[in-house]
Symmetry: C2
Subunit: 230 residues, 2 copies
Amino acid sequence: MRRSGLRAKVPAPTVARLPVYHRALVDYERRGLQTIASAELAAATGVNAATLRRDLSHLGSWGTRGTGYEVRHLLTQVDRALGIDKESPIVVVGVGNLGRALARSGNFSARGLRVAALLDVDPEIVGTEVAGVPVEHVDALERVVRREGAVIAVLATPAEVAQSLADRLAGAGVRAILNLAPVVLHAAPSVRLGTVDLAAELQVLAFYGTRDRHRARRAVVSPGDAAAGR
Amino acid sequence: MRRSGLRAKVPAPTVARLPVYHRALVDYERRGLQTIASAELAAATGVNAATLRRDLSHLGSWGTRGTGYEVRHLLTQVDRALGIDKESPIVVVGVGNLGRALARSGNFSARGLRVAALLDVDPEIVGTEVAGVPVEHVDALERVVRREGAVIAVLATPAEVAQSLADRLAGAGVRAILNLAPVVLHAAPSVRLGTVDLAAELQVLAFYGTRDRHRARRAVVSPGDAAAGR
DNA sequence: ATATGTGAATCAATTCACAGCT
DNA sequence: AGCTGTGAATTGATTCACATAT
């Protein structure tokens, strides 16, 4: 397709696979590989080689026929597509077990993400620090979002309050919300909603695991399906 | 389609939506609703009404024309499809922040899930209890899996050890693994692999959030996409 | 009158297969 | 000789629209 610099319209499934490619490429670079063929990268990421090539072509990427892709160059392109160059500050709302786990998650900065602020209501928690980030009261949500220039928020609250907090986040200018609460949220179409419900994931696995041995396909799965647009 | 009792072959996207329907139906039942029309349930779950009806038809469900679906009956069918009747014991490997969060997650039993065992290597953690479940040493993995009759496991370990633990889990007879480590796992096709990588989800949101205001679609997302077979 | 269940149409992504480049 | 990039074929899910049931 060869879009000049910014791609036009990358299919959602492709976007969902980009972080996987990113990880694999970082790995190859670390191991000193110069070039990589689509077939090899495809095997490492569990993706069909033709699919991988088409994915890359959506980014306007360029491989060398007969040789493959230059690892470093390709990584740069994937990074740029994912916006890893400019770090995204994240606001985490709800500092329970899950929110805490997120805040402490180590491998964020390597992925262009930074937990910039933590919010909660519990007076026991507000005022403490988690992973060096102070927990502020959720009353200050709008102020904190603007202060940090946060475009992305994570909702790790009880389901009951998730919708109203999502509304407030949207109002404060957040552009995307990752909802970890087990509830279906509704938002204006200008706000991108992703949901990860671990219990639901397990229920899905239970469907396949419990039941008779279907033709159990699927060795590898791309993440981001939940956040990627339909 | 009307399969007698066991469905033949439910599309993966349908399976991924079942937990969402389940939650909505529990809610309707709690509120005393007798019947529900596909249009209403669809609105609540953010799914197209025709899609919802086709999903239900895959379960061999039966609504009443002119009236809708009986809430209690439909819930029973969804429960049965998801295997919520028989509780699934889960083994959680890796009791770090994320594993701990999972173990403490309240809403599991209502979903047919039970954290039956916790495993870790850290001598500081082994021997302690989390949410009433003792943390055992990962050396005992095979024994614990058999003792609990666990069919599903969660991998919440560092990425480096995830593959070898997945191999051991598969060897021990686990049928499905939810991988929370940021790494692509490979397994025999008899083992169902799902991956949830929160950082990757955020990267995907960053792709859309950072970038220009695409035709930002997607108000609601079904979970389980990662675990559902493609 | 109203809402289901489903053929048929549509839309989108995956995959094949090969022409074209190095 | 080898591997990319991509038209064309395929596969699969979503959605429309309506005949069918209550």
